[in-house]
């Protein structure tokens, strides 16, 4: 196993983890503050990717598509929050699962109506097509480096927002004791709408950035949603720090698992069995991780409600 491969896979894991963080961050805040389990969060990621693809095709520029997709998805998020999500936060999780599952159905078909059933193209910016030499002899795609950069920047910005700004304090207060925050005069409804829109926009950024790497297709939101749910549970619901650690962990375990497990198994098992078992075990790795975390820490690694 050459060091280049190792570095490359770890960076890929980090890159995927950071994108998962952008999605998980919004999900854990919405869940943490308003206690709303929003299965439709993956749909916002899908919408972000589709809008970015269309704008990129029309304007020919990825750099225009990214901000536009983020804003449009933010508006969609605001519409969704004011019409539906706001009516859900007093309801139990079952009603929320049913309602947001319904939103997935509506979103999938609406996207199908607008963009048609077939996947569509979103290409990375031409300037970043080539690789970059990180270390002597270690080449790494510059586009993926961009993703890592944007991911880290947004993660830092979100961390500073939550820990240093006054709104961040209100967000944390709202997530641990909603009624008490209201009693202190915090406009919890407006705070929640802001968080929901912020979450939608972060998902859109992830959608636009991952678009070129994964296919932009209907239902792309569901698989990412499962990963995001696993992440916020591992990290501890309502905790940004937990979402970050969880996302990077899942990103690396999932990527490294798929890359290294099959080779690893070849050493012990016959080729046929290893070829068969490798990918299956790799796919399962993150769920084993989650079950293990929940077994020892039933409230996740960083329980927000201290």
């Amino acid at each position: 196993m050459t060091t280049t491969l190792l570095v490359e896979q770890l960076l890929n894991g980090l890159q995927f983890g950071l994108m998962l963080f952008l999605i998980a961050a919004g999900l854990t805040l919405v869940f943490g503050i308003m206690d709303v389990l929003n299965l439709a969060h993956g749909s916002l990621y899908m919408i972000g990717a589709y809008v970015a693809a269309s704008v990129a095709q029309v304007t020919g520029s990825f750099w225009v598509a990214l901000p536009v997709a983020t804003l449009v998805t933010g508006l969609v998020g605001l519409l969704l929050e004011t019409t539906l999500i706001r009516r859900l936060y007093r309801r139990d999780h079952l009603a929320q699962v049913l309602a947001t599952f319904a939103v997935i159905l509506v979103a999938d078909d609406t996207v199908k109506l607008i963009w048609g059933p077939a996947p569509i193209m979103l290409s990375a910016p031409a300037a970043l097509a080539g690789p970059v030499e990180l270390l002597p002899g270690v080449l790494y795609p510059s586009y993926r480096l961009l993703i890592i950069g944007v991911g880290l920047a947004l993660a830092l910005a979100l961390y500073l927002f939550v820990t240093k700004t006054r709104t961040g304090m209100l967000v944390r207060a709202g997530s641990s004791n909603r009624d008490m925050a209201s009693l202190m005069g915090v406009r919890v409804d407006r705070l929640f709408a802001t968080i929901f829109v912020l979450g939608a926009m972060l998902s859109a950024v992830a959608g636009a950035l991952l678009g070129p790497l994964l296919a932009v297709e209907i239902g792309m939101g569901e698989n990412i949603l499962i990963l995001a749910l696993v992440i916020i549970v591992i990290g501890g619901i309502g905790s940004i720090r937990g979402a970050f650690v969880g996302a990077v962990l899942v990103g690396i375990v999932d990527t490294a698992g798929r890359a290294f497990l099959p080779d690893l198994l070849h050493r012990f098992l016959s080729n046929a069995v290893a070829a068969q078992l490798g990918p299956a075990l790799a796919a399962i790795a993150i769920y084993v991780l989650m079950a293990a975390v929940l077994f020892f820490r039933p409230q996740g690694l960083f329980p927000a409600r201290g």
Partner: protein, 311 residues
């Protein structure tokens, strides 16, 4: 025998007449369609038993359904065609899987339980995808239907229909008796107030685990019947959206009502059939209808007709 007790027998009669009616109107398709509804009714009813009565919201119930189907299909590949062997095996394996998954999942509560059941089901899904020897992602065809003997040939659509009907009727009878029996009272007590149940002497974990395994086994039975119904099994039957669909059926039908699971399965599958006939984009209207249920019929269809208390 009040009007409410009469309802199940009337439904049974109607269901029994379907094949005759279908034959009369030369609509053979509907035998298969209603049979599929009844199979999903078994799975949804088993989920309602632990979710509606026991408060255990499992988002991974389709895993046991899939395990049941795969056991029958794999047994078939190895030449075991007798229903008397394959189906009990399907129930057994599904129940054992539920016991294993439940023993860990039931240590968590609330949303964490929902998530850990989802996680385990995804593991089973990826295992099925990994079974390259048994068709992997593309699934596995069954050479024939199980052999049941007793002069019955399951290859006949109508015979299989009646076997499924008998299975559904038996499962509903057993579940309703269980709900009224001591075990059902304990489940309901746990859903309502688990701390008080511990404080009056119930080892709640044990009761929940047994319930989870029973529901898993029944879902395995539905899986076994589904394998025969379709003569095909694939990982898609195990995907988390299938588990979510089962949850939607229970909520649509009326969570915690004796016939909530059954009513939900029938209603959802009929809706899908109707809407799919009208438009290719049938998910959109279906989604809107489910939203309407969330806000206007919070206790589901059964809730609309029942008295205030849960049946």
């Amino acid at each position: 025998m009040t009007r409410r007790d009469l309802l199940p027998w009337v439904l049974l009669m109607v269901a029994a007449l379907v094949p005759w009616l279908a034959g009369l109107l030369d609509q053979g398709y509907y035998v298969g369609f209603v049979r599929r509804m009844m199979i999903f009714a078994i799975a949804a009813a088993s989920l309602n038993f632990i979710m509606g009565y026991g408060g255990m919201v499992s988002l991974g119930h389709a895993a046991f359904f899939g395990i049941g189907a795969y056991v029958v299909a794999i047994a078939m590949v190895h030449g075991v065609t007798s229903a008397w062997i394959a189906w009990p095996l399907a129930v057994l394996f599904a129940a054992l899987a539920a016991l294993a998954i439940g023993s860990i999942s039931l240590r968590t509560r609330g949303v964490y339980f929902i998530m850990i059941t989802l996680a385990f089901a995804q593991m089973v899904y990826y295992l099925a995808v990994g079974l390259k020897h048994y068709g992997g992602e593309d699934g596995l065809n069954l050479a024939q239907r199980s052999v049941i003997g007793l002069g019955l040939d399951l290859a006949s659509e109508t015979t299989l229909y009646y076997v499924v009907l008998v299975a559904l009727a038996t499962v509903m009878l057993l579940l309703n008796r269980a709900v009224g029996a001591r075990y059902g009272r304990v489940l309901m007590g746990i859903r309502e107030n688990e701390t008080r149940m511990e404080a009056i002497g119930f080892a709640t974990y044990r009761y929940k685990l047994v319930g989870f395994a029973i529901a898993g086994g029944l879902a395995g039975l539905a899986g076994a019947l589904f394998a025969n119904h379709n003569l095909f099994v694939s990982p898609a039957a195990l995907h988390w959206t299938q588990s979510a669909t089962l949850v939607v059926m229970v909520l649509l039908g009326g969570i915690g009502f004796r016939y909530g699971g059954l009513a939900g399965a029938v209603a959802l599958l009929m809706l899908e059939e109707l809407l799919a006939a009208l438009t290719d984009y049938w998910h959109l209207p279906l989604g809107l209808i489910l939203l309407a249920v969330v806000f206007f019929a919070p206790r589901g269809l059964a809730g609309l007709f029942a008295r205030r208390g849960a049946a």
